[in-house]
């Protein structure tokens, strides 16, 4: 029971801080209207409360996080529904379905749209809703079949160019850039970023990397012998890449935290 007691005390403290902050913030508002000041004081205090609640998750799961999470999910779901309604139903569907509905929502009715075709997805949509009726629920698979079939068809051919063909064709790079013989190459070796040596080295790494990466992804052969060596190089290249991308991303993530901490200390506590 002590933990429950501790929780209560903690909640009381948080409530107190919240109240003090609200009052202070309302008092220091910029607006002439006291309602706006009180409202903005509440909103910034509440935003701080939510920020700290989310951070408390780092310690462990707790009621404050649970509250913030539930609120967040609820608001998001509600937001998404509204968004879907206004952008898809009103923006996309109504103008083509009915003139009176279009007038009701103040959207321009599309005169020369194919009004009959719009009913096909409606039928599919209604079929989908049969899921809610256990007896004929299996009908909904027709709609799922349509969606899955269409997506599979779209994906069958559409990404070949970006994911396969252009990747392969871009891998044909000159392996001997500006080649003027061995002597010239050796006498010009340097680590300059735009030198010949780095250019040749880079292209070799790309070529060998792609080859070995492909070998690594072979499913039909065990990684043994020469095959094993190549796949080993492949995994090394992958790991260098993963490590580099990871290390590179740190900076961006710290920036996000800086943003939040600046919000707490600057916008709220005003000590910056």
């Amino acid at each position: 029971m002590t933990s429950k007691m501790a929780m209560r005390i903690l909640t009381a403290i948080v409530a107190l801080i919240f109240l003090v902050s609200w009052i202070t913030k309302s008092g220091s508002g910029m607006s002439d209207s006291s309602f706006t000041n009180v409202r903005d004081g509440f909103l910034i205090t509440f935003a701080v409360f939510l920020t700290l609640s989310i951070f408390s998750f780092l310690y462990r799961d707790n009621p404050f996080y649970k509250f913030a999470e539930s609120l967040y999910v609820g608001i998001s779901a509600g937001y998404w529904m509204c968004y879907g309604f206004w952008s898809t139903v009103v923006g996309n569907f109504v103008p083509r379905a009915s003139r009176s509905l279009s007038e009701f929502f103040h959207v321009p009715y599309q005169e020369h749209a194919d009004h009959i075709l719009i009913y096909i997805p409606i039928i599919f949509g209604l079929i989908l809703l049969t899921r809610l009726l256990p007896k004929i629920g299996w009908l909904s698979r027709w709609s799922l079949a349509f969606i899955i079939g269409a997506t599979a068809g779209l994906n069958l051919t559409r990404y070949l160019r970006s994911d396969f063909i252009s990747q392969v064709s871009n891998s044909f790079i000159p392996l001997f850039v500006d080649w003027k013989g061995v002597g010239s190459f050796i006498s010009h070796i340097s680590l300059a970023a735009d030198g010949q040596f780095i250019a040749i080295l880079s292209n070799w790494v790309i070529f060998v990397g792609v080859m070995c990466g492909l070998v690594y992804f072979f499913f039909s052969k065990e990684h043994k012998g020469a095959f094993g060596v190549a796949s080993r190089i492949g995994i090394w290249i992958l790991m260098i890449t993963f490590g580099a991308s990871f290390g590179y991303t740190v900076m961006g993530r710290i920036s996000l935290l800086v943003g939040r901490i600046t919000f707490l200390f600057g916008d709220w506590l005003k000590i910056l």
Binding site: F55, L58, Y59, A192, A193, D194, I198, A199, Y248, V250, M251, G252, I254, S255, L257, V258, I261, T262, F265, I271, L272
Partner: protein
């Protein structure tokens, strides 16, 4: 003062963690979290800044502007949008300060429609208040934005007046004294593009710097910096990469021209928490490995 407190808190904590690891205890992840939070918070509260030293790729841009004779002609192009601005705007502002401080002539332009408004923000917030003596048309001018991407460069490399009959304020170029001896980009002493997308630094190199044989420098968002690296040092005299590059430039600027010491240097300020956080994370990795080798040694003995 702040530095000492931070150093004691963080350094002491890390040493304690190291001690725990050597003793073979695993460190709770919450302590790791606490460290990261505390580090960033301390760095922000105490405005910690570290002695950023310009790397050669940044230094060469700085030296170029520093050593050009007063009155040299420099183009500064705003090729970015608000999303990239936090990263690259500090660079542009640092360039403005440096160029005008050295009494060069500064020609603003933009290849991005969105660059125009960001440019006027810089003019109003940095240039006008800090350089009240700088005269429009003599010390600086704003050519504004022109549509056409690298096509614009294709034209101005032969003739400015064809692409820009007038500047952004509607003045004919001939009415601006600083355009008297300028026919095309080839008459410039340095071209600087600040941006992170296309058209950007790369296009300036390929369509202006190379064909016109004009020194070109750039500032780019961190994402596109690796792609530009191979152009240095032959085609680009230097490059500022991301917040880090901007901070190095700002540090160099303050070092050489102390009058900017109390001006806002956002990149330098951003690098404080960044550096601290990176040091702490690297320390974690080291401690983690110490713990690992320690436990493996023990495992091997028993």
């Amino acid at each position: 003062m702040g530095l000492i407190i931070s150093a004691v808190v963080i350094g002491g904590g890390l040493l304690w963690m190291l001690y725990l690891s050597i003793k073979g205890q695993d460190v709770d992840r919450r302590i790791v979290y606490l460290f990261v939070g505390a580090t960033v918070a301390l760095a922000i509260i105490f405005r910690l800044e570290f002695g950023e030293v310009a790397t050669p790729i940044v230094k060469s841009v700085f030296d170029k502007i520093e050593n050009l004779p007063a009155g040299s002609k420099i183009v500064l192009s705003y090729d970015f949008d608000p999303a990239m601005a936090p990263e690259v705007n500090p660079m542009a502002n640092a360039f403005i300060r440096h160029i005008l401080e050295k009494k060069h002539r500064l020609y603003f332009m933009s290849l991005w429609a969105t660059g125009q408004s960001l440019l006027s923000v810089s003019l109003n917030d940095v240039l006008k208040p800090e350089f009240p003596d700088a005269k429009y048309g003599v010390d600086y001018c704003n050519l504004g934005y022109k549509a056409g991407n690298e096509g614009v460069l294709n034209v101005v490399i032969t003739n400015f007046r064809k692409m820009f009959p007038s500047d952004a304020n509607g003045n004919s170029l001939d009415s601006l004294p600083m355009f008297k001896d300028v026919e095309s980009l080839k008459d410039m002493d340095l071209l600087i593009s600040v941006g992170g997308g296309k058209p950007g630094v790369k296009e300036w190199v390929l369509f202006a710097g190379d064909p016109g044989k004009v020194a070109t420098a750039g500032g780019s968002a961190a994402v596109s910096t690796p792609l530009l690296y191979p152009y240095w040092p032959r085609q680009l005299i230097g490059l500022l990469g991301g917040t880090k590059g901007a901070a190095e430039y700002e540090a160099e600027l303050i070092k050489t021209h102390p009058r900017f010491k109390d001006k806002s240097m956002p990149a330098l300020r951003m690098m404080g928490p960044q550096t601290m956080a990176h040091v702490v994370i690297i320390a974690f990795i080291v401690i983690g490995n110490v713990a690992y080798f320690r436990s493996r040694k023990k495992g091997g003995q028993s």
